[in-house]
Amino acid sequence: MTLRDKTAIVGVGATPYYKRGRSLPQTSLELAGKATLAALADAGLSVADVDGLALYGMGLGGDTSLFAQTLGIPEVRFTATLTGGGGGAAGSVGLAAAAIVSGMATCVVSLMSLQQASSRFGASYAPRGKVGAQYSAPPSPEGNFIQPAGLMAPGQMFAVLARRHMYQYGTQREHFAEVAISTRENARRRETALMRDPLTVEEYFAARMIADPLCLFDFCLECDGAVAVVTVAADRAQDLRQPPVLVTASAHGGHGRWGQAITWMNMPDEIFASSGHRPVAQRLYAMAEMGPEDVDVALFYDHFSPMVLLQLEDYGFCAIGESGPFVADGNIRWPRGSLPVNTHGGNLSEAYIIGMTHVKEAVEQLRGTAVNQVAGAQVALVTGGPASLPTSSLLLRAP
């Protein structure tokens, strides 16, 4: 037995997206509540219907007690979070589906709320307490083998993976640029996007280098905001306000020796220059009884542009090492590419809400209401991470 097509996303909601710190004086809890109420209203449901909370750990700081008390949820019957370091937003919807299929809950909210006013992910491995690093982790015995080299930011660490990919496969900065520019083109048409000015190849190469080979435009945004998703059983979904979007498959995890990945750097050679998603992708497709050829639109977690390339490989849209030429051929462009990617503008140009905007976009694509609609889209892929273990993903489809 699997959860294939047994549940459906029936509501999505979001706050406006803000540049880091601009959501004040609202609180993070307030943003979470606003997104949840919007998602319930979208579904034609209310707080009285909610009995489950399935999050990725960072969603409410890994704790749902204050949220339940504040919104007045009548009875919580399921509350669980995916662990990890950034890869769980897509998988949190899979956790909701698992709760419903197992009978533990009937109406589950998955949620991400992010406020970087007094903290920033961009320096999340810098020494705690230093100016500009208030979010950062305390020194750990394992981190001692990374941080003294000056690796203090996720972008610096993923730059190391990107450099290895360039060495092994001949990938070029022009390929990273194609990800950044195609994503920006999608964002230009979206009112919700924070970055809507056109981006040219010349501007990309004129931008300042941050952590070679990654320049300014290879980095995602630092944002505030919240996105929520409501999942119920597929048969119940028929009676609600919106066309249901079926949860066809979800998977999370990864190779055990992927492990802490970017804060470890001792992953096996054959997966070092990967997204960590390869085994997750295989399980996802097996559960769905689908393959990459069935996917109409892909919403790849895009904190750093090269990681989109590595996911294209790990999800089988091209051979390992061939993602550079694949994007250079125009394949990820909306609307005419063979696989439109991040039609909402992604983390790079719309907003960074740790991947939940990607779930929202998949739902809009399958309802047929997306701003950059892929004609006739029936199946959408959503991923969370590259990150430390677990990475996660979802296959959603229109009924």
Partner: protein, 149 residues
């Protein structure tokens, strides 16, 4: 900040004030040896697998016991980045610096991360042969850096 960084810029190092160690019982012997400018790596006494960083179990056979083997500190750059943007105010005078992931010789490819030193930025590349240079950041605290050979 220039569009194309001057790659003959000499590489710098992150300031010693940003380096904090917090060893546990499994990693402490590494740092004690480091303070004496000796590189030691833990190897499983049951199956001979190296484990890094030092930890309580063998990833291959799950045994706990280890022996510490000394290595001279030769390796090759597996991958790297060159950091041009100081993410903290404290790093403003430390860029560019180049964290490198180095495959250590005679350890079944244990990778040791350290900044490259005594080289210009353009000298760093995958496959570069390097040797370990201990950097004394304060009394009884030394961390690995890598110098091209």
């Amino acid at each position: 900040m220039t569009a194309t960084p001057a790659t003959d810029a000499p590489l710098r190092l992150p300031p010693a004030t940003l380096i904090q160690l917090s060893p546990d019982s499994w990693t402490a012997p590494f740092w004690e040896a480091a303070a004496a400018h000796r590189l030691v790596v833990p190897r499983c006494t049951s199956c001979a697998a190296f484990r890094f960083p030092p930890g309580p179990f063998c990833w291959r056979c799950q045994a706990q016991a280890i022996e510490w083997v000394e290595r001279p500190g030769h390796g090759t750059v597996y991958s790297y980045t060159i950091v041009w943007h100081p993410i903290l105010p404290d790093l403003a005078d430390s860029v560019p610096y180049a964290p490198a992931v180095v495959e250590l010789a005679d350890t079944d490819d244990v990778r040791v991360v350290g900044a490259v030193t005594d080289a210009p930025a353009h000298a760093v590349e995958v496959g570069l042969a390097v040797e370990l240079v201990w950097r004394d950041v304060r009394d009884r605290v030394s961390v690995p850096t890598w110098r091209p050979t």
